[in-house]
Symmetry: C3
Subunit: 190 residues, 3 copies
C-alpha cells in the first residue's frame, strides 16, 4: 500500500515511547502525520475480534501455531493501512528461553517494512532509567546482559534488512539529549 | 512433531560436549530425557544408508548439491523424531574459505528448531583449553580470531532466529564454573 | 553455472579496489583468471539496455519495484556467467535513512554466491585514508560511526550466509600491509 511502514524498537528503559511521542507531535505539526500502533496491542485486538482471547493475559496461553497466525494476520492488516505508519515493537524480547525475535520471517513477509529503527543508548544510562522506574523493577539486568541484548538487536536488525530490503537506522537517546533523538527520528520519518 | 528441538553450538574448545553430557544426566534424573544427536554424525548415517559414502572422510568429497540434499534429509528426519531432541552442531565452522554456516536456510526450514543455544566463554579461557588438548593442536587461533568467530556466531544465530522464530540463549561455560553452565542449560531445557 | 561467484565488499576508504586489482593480476598470472564486475555498474547497464535510464543519475529516480526488478535481473545474469566471477559491491550502504542492505534476499536468491568477502581494517586507518582522498570528503564519518558500519556489515554478512550457505571471509587491509591483504584474497580465490 502507499505510505511508509516504519518499525521502531528499543530495549525496555531506553525511552522509546518518549522519543516516538515527541516525534509524532513534530511530524503532525509539519504536516506529515503518521498513524501509530503497538504491534502487541494490535495483535491482541485481532485475537479478541476473532474470539480467541478475552484479555491480554490469555495471549500467552495461545499455542505456537495460533500465535504465528495471529502475528501474520496483524502484520498483513498493518501492511494494508493506506498511509504512513509507525509500528512500535521489539527487535527481540528477552525471555527465560533466550532472545525471542520480534519480527520472524512470516511477520516481515506480511508487513514489508521500509525502515527499521533501533533506539539505543549507553547501557549504564538504561540501567539508571530502569532503576528509577519502579514498574520495571523486574528488568534489573546487568550491564553485560544489556550490552548483549542491544548487540543482539543490531544483529537481528541486519537479518531483517536482508529479508526485506528495509534500511536500518540507529537513533541514540542519550541522557539530557532527548531533543537530538527526536530530531534524528523526525528526519528519518520526513 | 511433538517435542522441543534444541540446537546447541559452541566453538571448538568451549566445552560444549562436557556441558551437554552433564545436562543430559540431570534432565534424565529429573524425568525429562532428551534424545541426543550430533548433526555431523547423523548426516553421515543418512549418507551411508543411501550408499553415497563408506566412511566419514568421503563426506568431504561430496558435491555441493549432494551435501545440501543430505543436510536437508537429515534435518527433516530429526524434525520427525517424536520427542525432545538436542542437536549438537556448529553455528558456523571456520574453514580456509571463511565461516561456513552450520544451519543454512534449507536446514532450518527442514529442522524447525525451537531453541538455539550458544555455549560461550572468554576467548583466553578457550585458548587455554585448546592449548591443553593435544587433539586440538590445529585449532590454535589467536585471541582476535576467536573473538571474531564467537561474534560471528552470535550474528548468525540472530539470522537463524529471524528465519525460524526460535529463541537464542547464551550459556557461559567459564573456568571453574561448569556447574553454573549446566544449571543454565538444564533450566533452558526444562 | 560452473564457476565460483565471489562477492567482495568493504566500506568506502578501506582500499577494496586496490586489493581486488592486485589480486586479479596475481590470479591471472597463476592461470586462474576471474571476471570482474561492479554490481552497481552492471545494474546500470541492464537498466540502460532496457531503456529505463539514460545515465547513472537517473538510477536513483527509479521506483522501488523497478529497482528491485533490476537488482534481480542483474543478479540472475551474473549467476549465468559461465566461470569465476568477482562481484564488487557493498554489504550495506550508509544512506540518510540508515544502512541499506547491498544484497537483499531477492538478489541473493538470484546470485547464489559461493563466497562473501569483507575487506576491513581499523577505523582510524580508514579515517586517515578518507581524509587524504578529496573525492571522499563527504564520507567524513566519526570513528564510532565507522565502527558501527563495519560491525553492521559483519552482522548482515552472517544473514547472507544463512540465506545462501556461502562462506564469509574477512580480509584485513591494514596500513603498510597491502601485500598481506592481497595474499589473503588470492588464497581465498585460488
Amino acid at each position: 500500500m502507499a505510505g511508509t511502514k516504519c518499525i521502531i524498537t528499543g530495549v525496555p528503559g531506553v525511552g522509546k515511547t518518549t522519543v516516538i511521542t515527541e516525534a509524532l507531535k513534530r511530524l503532525e505539526e509539519a504536516g506529515r502525520p503518521y498513524a501509530y500502533l503497538s504491534f502487541g496491542s494490535f495483535m491482541f485486538e485481532v485475537a479478541a475480534k476473532k474470539g480467541l482471547v478475552k484479555n491480554r493475559d490469555e495471549m500467552r496461553l495461545l499455542g505456537k501455531d495460533d500465535q504465528r497466525q495471529l502475528q501474520q494476520e496483524a502484520a498483513g492488516e498493518i501492511a494494508r493501512i493506506d498511509g504512513d505508519v509507525i509500528v512500535d515493537t521489539h527487535a527481540s524480547v528477552k525471555t527465560p528461553k533466550g532472545y525471542l525475535p520480534g519480527l520472524p520471517e512470516w511477520v516481515l513477509e506480511a508487513l514489508r517494512p521500509d525502515l527499521f529503527v533501533l533506539i539505543e543508548t549507553d547501557e549504564d544510562q538504561i540501567l539508571g532509567r530502569r532503576f528509577g522506574d519502579p514498574s520495571r523493577i523486574r528488568d534489573l539486568d546487568t550491564y553485560g546482559a544489556l550490552r548483549s541484548h542491544q548487540s543482539f538487536n543490531r544483529a537481528i536488525a541486519a537479518a531483517y534488512a536482508m529479508k526485506t530490503g528495509c534500511t536500518v537506522a540507529i537513533v541514540t537517546n542519550a541522557d539530557h539529549l532527548l531533543d537530538r533523538a527526536v530530531d534524528q527520528l523526525v528526519t528519518l520519518l520526513s
